[in-house]
Symmetry: D2
Subunit: 333 residues, 4 copies
């Protein structure tokens, strides 16, 4: 009943997932790790009872001891590992991005479709967040009528030194792009990016305001403010034909002091999405134990990559850019 998991790439996020699979959730055992930095791999293995170090991700994937794979290495390496896992017939959890080029994403779709069953789960953790699930359930219930507009707001207090404007689209907004598709049950057809007055706190274009048009006509707006100081604030609102549904404040207590009442804004993504990560891996473990995958699929990863590519082009050109998706393999429903 315990799944033997190998982890490729044991940097910050990889170690976080190891901690979760080891100390928090029932049903998993870390049996293998690998990393481009061999010393780091050894170090992490030493702290993880039962974990063996593998020289390469490919060897780890091939190892008989490994029943399922977690890919948390550097983004551009993801696609190759996922393809290898598919070839080995092993369930694979891949952090976003699934692929950094449309071509790579498409190759994964072909491989999985050829296999005829899902093995790939992409790390869009918002789909497991209780608030987004309630939002989705409300839309599905008809309580607000057909959805016409979705406003998604993604705010970070600050960004590390290597941050560049483009990352606000392919690293930040990519979560908003995916959750839009989840909530609206629809695919994007075009994207425009506006660059408002620049926040003087940063050396990069910020905020960005992205408009995404969906097939059924719904409009998605995405504000990315990645240097806004006050907190990590994820907000979302669906405007329907007869009503509106909005993510509520997440805050444990209200304090009345010095002329004000106040509540807490999360400090970072760990605080905000900790429970969603738990749920994400809980569902992955359950699915992987049966040789399958849950939640966001390779198709979702492919669309996210294709859309953020288009958004980058829209930012550079200042024009509306159409999004051309390949045909969706039947496997993805």
């Amino acid at each position: 009943m315990t799944l033997n998991v190998g982890v490729i790439g044991v940097g910050m996020i990889g170690q976080e997932h190891i901690r979760r699979l080891t100390n928090v959730l029932a049903g998993a055992r870390i049996v293998a790790v690998s990393d481009a930095d061999a010393a780091r791999a050894r170090e992490v293995a030493a702290r993880t009872p039962g974990a063996k170090t593998y020289a390469t991700g490919e060897e780890l994937i091939a190892a008989a001891a490994v029943a399922a794979v977690v890919v948390t290495s550097w983004g551009p390496t993801h696609a190759a590992y996922v393809l290898a896992a598919l070839q080995a017939g092993k369930p694979v959890f891949c952090e976003k991005p699934l692929a950094t080029t449309r071509a790579d994403g498409s190759a994964i779709l072909d491989a999985e479709a050829a296999l005829g069953r899902r093995l790939v789960q992409v790390g869009f953790m918002r789909r497991f967040d209780a608030q987004y699930r309630a939002l989705e359930a409300t839309i599905a219930s008809g309580a607000i009528g057909a959805p016409l507009i979705f406003n998604s707001v993604h705010r970070n207090p600050s960004m590390p030194g290597h941050f560049v404007s483009e990352m606000a689209l392919n690293d930040t907004a990519v979560h908003d792009i995916d959750i839009s598709r989840f909530l609206l049950g629809d695919e994007p057809v075009a994207v425009t990016v506006k660059s408002p007055r620049r926040n003087s706190r940063g050396p990069f274009e910020d905020p960005l305001f992205t408009l995404m048009e969906m097939r059924l006509g719904a409009l998605v707006t995405i504000e990315t403010s990645v240097n806004i100081a006050y907190g990590y604030d994820i907000r979302g609102e669906v405007v329907g034909e007869t009503g509106v549904a909005t993510l509520a404040e997440r805050n444990p207590i209200v304090v009345r002091s010095q002329g004000a009442f106040s509540g807490r804004v999360p400090a970072d993504w760990r605080e905000r999405f900790n429970d969603a990560f738990d749920a994400e891996f809980r569902e992955w473990l359950a699915a992987a134990a049966e040789g399958s995958a849950a939640g966001p699929s390779a198709w979702d990863g492919y669309v996210a990559t294709t859309t953020s590519e288009a958004a980058l082009e829209a930012l550079r050109s200042g024009e509306r850019v159409e999004i051309r998706l390949r045909e969706k393999p039947a496997l993805y429903g």
Copy 2:
């Protein structure tokens, strides 16, 4: 269509009412003022075009030019002026307390009942507050079932130097006592006062926690915290058989900054009840113009005085004190 008003007692609250009747509301003209401090009366009259000074409240009440009277003098003088106004057959608005003894309150009831029509309105402005009115309407609608408990919270940031513990009952909680009766449509039968751990900020017993039992059995709890620093905070919650209704936050905007979202708590009673005072006098003017009175009656003033007297005894004795009301004259329904 314009009502000629005389004001007895032109201290802070009297001047505030003059301002309101002169500059804010349609339908009134201040034609007379009087004050124990004759110099102050002259000063205020000088700033109020059309206002004449009278040596005593009794002369003001008797003056032909005065069609209606506002009593905002020192509390212990209220009853005599109200009785004089009743004798003169003139509508009178009297700030709380209507009377400082049950006997005086009772005398007013007799006089007004003998007259056979209401001329007295007591300054319990909460009854004109939009939030309390919504609370009352919700109870009346049956949306929460029969009311079983009413929790009333009355918090002041600080008190002036002459404040003594007793005032938390007969000056502060008296508003909560009155609004309880308004909301529950019922009369008090007994009162108990608890004196919790003392706030070290003040030289007096604070907070106090008053329990008031109503005829139909509903329990009223009143927290008075008169030295709580953070703001002027009036809260109320009615617990019914199937639901609960609560006064909402009053706050214009939510600010997200420095790790928190926050809103404003009112600084003082002027900010909190400004609109209620407007409505109170608007309704008084309309009623007085027709030789009548609106809202809280002499009976309400009598019960408030009787109940806060009982609460004082309960505080001193530490015992539950029964409240014995005289029979209610038919005039008060």
Copy 3:
């Protein structure tokens, strides 16, 4: 101290203003009315003690008895009346639109500038709303840093039969356009209008999503959903460099019942902006009594007209349309 006011156009909104100036606010007397429908003018005058009927707006403006003018006639007639009032040197309150063409608006600017002092106040009541004022004060305080994005949401439950899509811009969004300028202290330079998936409840394009670019680079987004069933909902959020300020819920009580807590959304503009209308006219009366005007000026009216003209063109063309404002007369600061 009482201002003699004449009202041109006594339909629904004109009558509402007469009621307010007569029964609610201190300091005004309605002495004159006129209307394209003479019978209606006579009817309203009959119900308004002291009011005389005039055959035309021009005669009303010229009448010696009239000290200040309120224009609430049909939109296309506004400009001519305002010009006449300017010529007569009388303070004039004009409901929006100030003018239905840029040329007319510009003519008013010239006339008032030539006069050398403000006499015109335009009916953008939001500028007197306590919530918008708190929003403006928060921006001015620096608490959220320089404003970068303003999201304005304007939702109506339904529209009358004669409604056409264009009105969502020049009748509805015009309020959002004006308040954006007030909050940001800046002028628009370009506008784009997106037409999302159409609400199936209506026979017109709805919702519309307008993007307005400001001189300093701030981006304004305006959602107009004029047929959204659930209520009249005005929302606004300013995103700054270090924080965010948002209009709070307006709701008197929270009810807990049947598995939910809930509060009220205003039913219509009267409920939502009643207090703002009071404040608007209170400030107008004070200014007009001194031969001046308060709040939104003819320049504000001119920019609103010019911008909504551009928005209409943007809707029709699907293109970004630049807004070319004439030079601002020194009178307007």
Copy 4:
């Protein structure tokens, strides 16, 4: 690293804990079950891979395979099992009540104190709830000054057929009693119970209003409304010298529809405290693995029993009842 756990009493709550320890949390394995109903024990064991059935709780405790014990049997049996576990030197998690008489509770204190280390953890899950922890941290931070009043509200939508009024004190309010001590860091000295107007929905006294006085003088009020229809609503507010801290709404999304905005109230204790139960057992597993216990101790269980006994007497007598606690063994700090 995996703890071998035996569960005594596998009714609803026992099965819920088995599920949690098996499917949700890392670090435990259910190896033994027993139940007064032997058939039920076999049934549950059959569904729990690796679990063996024991005829009695005592045999289960004594079994070498069992490293730690969970007691979820009928309340009156708890004390004997806890004493047996102490004798066996095995960590034991005991659902409340620790004991149904003060004498039994006291015997446990003696046994554990003699042992010289904590092995007992009592199931007051609120102490692991993120909201109560934030409340406690805010008090400790000094942000609201010394705590003077704590208002605790405990509402259930309805009660099963066997419910009697007393249970509102020893089964329901016992949680509020315990969390008051946790938040205030203080012990109760006296208790009074008021029985307000009776909810006509039920055949028992409801609601009850309990006043608990603490050693340092803080006042605790506990409303238990166990038949209030609208939901499972746990509320709490600490009034300090300079501020107030309140449990916030727990609700994922706000829906605007049909004239209202609304959010969800939890349906039952499972929904409300699911995460707290997870945290409670996560901390228990960590402590038990080291032969210790976390969170609420036998002393906490003893005080809860003693206080609810006093509350029952207060309800029956209508009088204020003093609470006489034995001396606190040094083990409990």
